[in-house]
C-alpha cells in the first residue's frame, strides 16, 4: 500500500474530530475491521495507520448512524450496507463481461450473480481478470489451480502483509528439431529471480489487486 493512502491514528482523530475513547470503543464493537489497523515502524516505535479513505468514510458512517442505532447494532447495519454494495458491484462486473460462470466457479463462488462473495474469491477474480488477454487459457487454468491450492485465507493474509506478485512465465525448449513451450506460474516477492531462459508473459501485483478490491468494493 502506498504511503499516501495511509493516515496515522493521530491524524484520524484530528480529521474526524473523535477521541481515543471512541476509536477504541468502535474497534471493540467490530465497527472498524482489524485488517485496517496497519502497524508500521516509525522513529517512535510501532505506530498504527489506516487506509485513509476507508477509515474516514467509515467514521462518517458511524457518526451518522449512531444517532438512530444502538452501538451494538451498528456493525450489523454497516455490514448489510457493505454486502449490498458488494452485490451491486458484482452484478455490474458481470454486465461488463469481466466475471463469467467459469471464473466464479473456479474461485469457489458457484452461481455468482447477485450473491456476495468472499474477499478471497473476489481477489481470485481480480487476478484472473487482469490476466485475460495476456495469458493463454491453459495458463489461466494454471493460475486458478495455484490460487485454489492456497485457498482458506492463508493467501489473503499473506497478501495483506507482503507484496506478492504472480508471474506467468514461459520457456521454449528445442531439441533435435522439435520445439515445445511450457508455462509455469510463480507467486513470490517482487524481486524474484528467474532463469534467463524464462520469458515472463504476464505479472499481477496481488497486493494491489486486493487493495483495489477492498477500496472499491468494501
Amino acid at each position: 500500500m502506498s504511503d499516501e493512502g495511509l493516515i496515522s491514528k493521530k491524524d484520524v482523530l484530528d480529521a474526524a474530530g473523535i477521541s481515543y475513547g471512541q476509536l477504541y470503543r468502535w474497534k471493540r464493537k467490530g465497527l472498524i475491521p482489524e485488517s485496517w489497523f496497519v502497524r508500521r515502524s516509525t522513529f517512535t516505535g510501532q505506530e498504527t495507520f489506516f487506509p485513509r479513505d476507508k477509515i474516514l468514510e467509515r467514521i462518517r458512517q458511524i457518526v451518522d448512524l449512531k444517532e438512530e442505532h444502538a452501538l451494538d447494532d451498528l456493525a450489523q447495519v454497516i455490514r448489510q450496507r457493505v454486502d449490498a454494495r458488494l452485490q451491486v458491484h458484482l452484478s455490474r462486473l458481470a454486465d461488463l463481461g469481466w466475471v463469467d460462470a467459469k471464473l466464479l466457479d473456479a474461485c469457489g463462488a458457484k452461481g455468482g450473480g447477485d450473491r456476495p462473495i468472499s474477499l478471497e474469491q473476489a481477489m481470485c477474480l481480480g487476478v484472473l481478470g487482469k490476466l485475460r488477454g495476456k495469458a493463454r487459457d491453459e495458463e489461466l487454468d494454471l493460475v486458478r489451480a495455484t490460487l485454489a491450492k492456497t485457498a482458506g485465507g492463508e493467501l489473503l493474509e499473506r497478501c495483506k502483509r507482503e507484496a506478492l506478485i504472480l508471474h506467468v512465465a514461459r520457456k521454449r525448449i528445442e531439441a533435435a528439431g522439435i520445439a515445445a513451450e511450457i508455462s509455469a506460474v510463480f507467486v513470490g516477492p517482487e524481486n524474484i529471480i528467474l532463469d534467463p531462459e524464462l520469458t515472463v508473459a504476464a505479472t499481477v501485483d496481488m497486493k494491489a489487486v486486493l487493495e483495489k478490491i477492498q477500496l472499491e468494493l468494501v
Binding site: 491514528k9 481515543y20 475513547g21 474497534k27 510501532q46
Partner: protein, 247 residues
C-alpha cells in the same frame, strides 16, 4: 434455557458426556468429554471440560481447565486456578485467583484481583485490576483502573480513561509491601507497556515507550520515553519523561 433439563453432578471422581444441562457441578475430580451448554457450571474440585462451554453462570474455585472457548452470558467467577485454551466471552468476569486464557477475553466488566494472564487481547467496557496481569496484545476498555500490586504488563493499552495508581492502600508499611510482594509472585508493583493511548490518562509506577492522549498526568515513579498530548500535561518531579510534544 426455559425447558426442563437434567443436571449433572460429579462429587467423587467421574466423567460425564457433553450435552445440554440445567446445572453441571464438579466437586471432586471430574471431566466432561465434549461441549457443554448449561444454565450454570460450577467447578470446585479439579474439573476439566474438553469442549466449548456455554453457560449463564460459570463459577470455579478449585482447579479448572477448559479446553475450548468459554462463553458466560451472565457471569464468570474464578477464584482458584483456571485455564482456558481458547477465548473467553462473558458479561462480567471476576477473577480473584490465577486465571490464564490462551486466547482473548471480551467482557462488559472485568475485575481482577488475582493474577490474570491473557494471550492476546482483553476488551471490556470497564477493567479494574488490583493484582498482577499480563496481556499479550491490546488491553482496551472505556475505563481502565489499575491499582498496582505485582507486575502488570500489556503490549498496548487504549481507552477513554486510564488510571494507574500505586498500591491499594493509602499508607502502606514496609511489612505490607513485603507481604504483597510475596503473594503476588515476587514482582515489583509496576506497569509496563509499549504504548498507552487515551483521552484522560493518569499514570504512576509505569514504564512505557509512548503515551498519547488529551489530558495526561505522569505521576511518581514513571519512566516514559515519549509523551504526545493535545490539551494538558503534568509531570511529577519523581517521574522521568524523556520527550514530550503538544499537538
Amino acid at each position: 434455557m426455559s425447558e426442563k433439563k437434567n443436571s449433572a453432578s460429579i462429587s467423587g471422581s467421574g466423567t460425564i458426556a457433553g450435552g445440554t444441562y440445567e446445572r453441571v457441578s464438579i466437586s471432586g475430580s471430574g471431566k466432561v468429554t465434549g461441549e457443554v451448554t448449561a444454565d450454570e457450571v460450577r467447578i470446585s474440585g479439579a474439573g476439566k471440560i474438553e469442549g466449548r462451554t456455554h453457560a449463564n453462570r460459570i463459577t470455579t474455585s478449585g482447579s479448572a481447565s477448559f479446553d475450548a472457548d468459554v462463553v458466560a452470558e451472565d457471569e464468570m467467577k474464578v477464584s482458584g486456578s483456571a485455564k482456558v485454551t481458547g477465548d473467553v466471552k462473558a458479561k462480567e468476569l471476576k477473577c480473584s485467583g490465577a486465571f490464564r486464557v490462551d486466547g482473548s477475553v471480551s467482557a462488559d466488566y472485568v475485575k481482577s484481583s488475582g493474577s490474570l494472564r491473557v494471550g492476546s487481547d482483553l476488551e471490556a467496557e470497564i477493567f479494574r485490576a488490583t493484582g498482577g496481569f499480563r496481556i499479550g496484545g491490546l488491553l482496551s476498555a472505556d475505563h481502565i483502573e489499575i491499582r498496582l500490586a505485582g507486575h502488570c504488563e500489556a503490549t498496548e493499552i487504549g481507552g477513554e480513561r486510564i488510571e494507574v495508581h500505586r498500591g491499594g492502600w493509602k499508607e502502606r508499611s514496609l511489612i505490607m509491601e513485603g507481604l504483597i510482594r510475596v503473594f503476588s509472585g515476587g514482582g515489583a508493583a509496576e506497569l509496563r507497556a509499549q504504548q498507552i493511548e487515551g483521552d484522560d490518562i493518569h499514570l504512576e509506577g509505569t514504564t512505557a515507550r509512548v503515551v498519547r492522549g488529551k489530558r495526561i498526568s505522569i505521576g511518581p515513579d514513571c519512566d516514559i520515553e515519549r509523551v504526545e498530548y493535545t490539551d494538558t500535561l503534568e509531570v511529577h518531579p519523581d517521574a522521568s519523561v524523556h520527550e514530550h510534544t503538544k499537538r
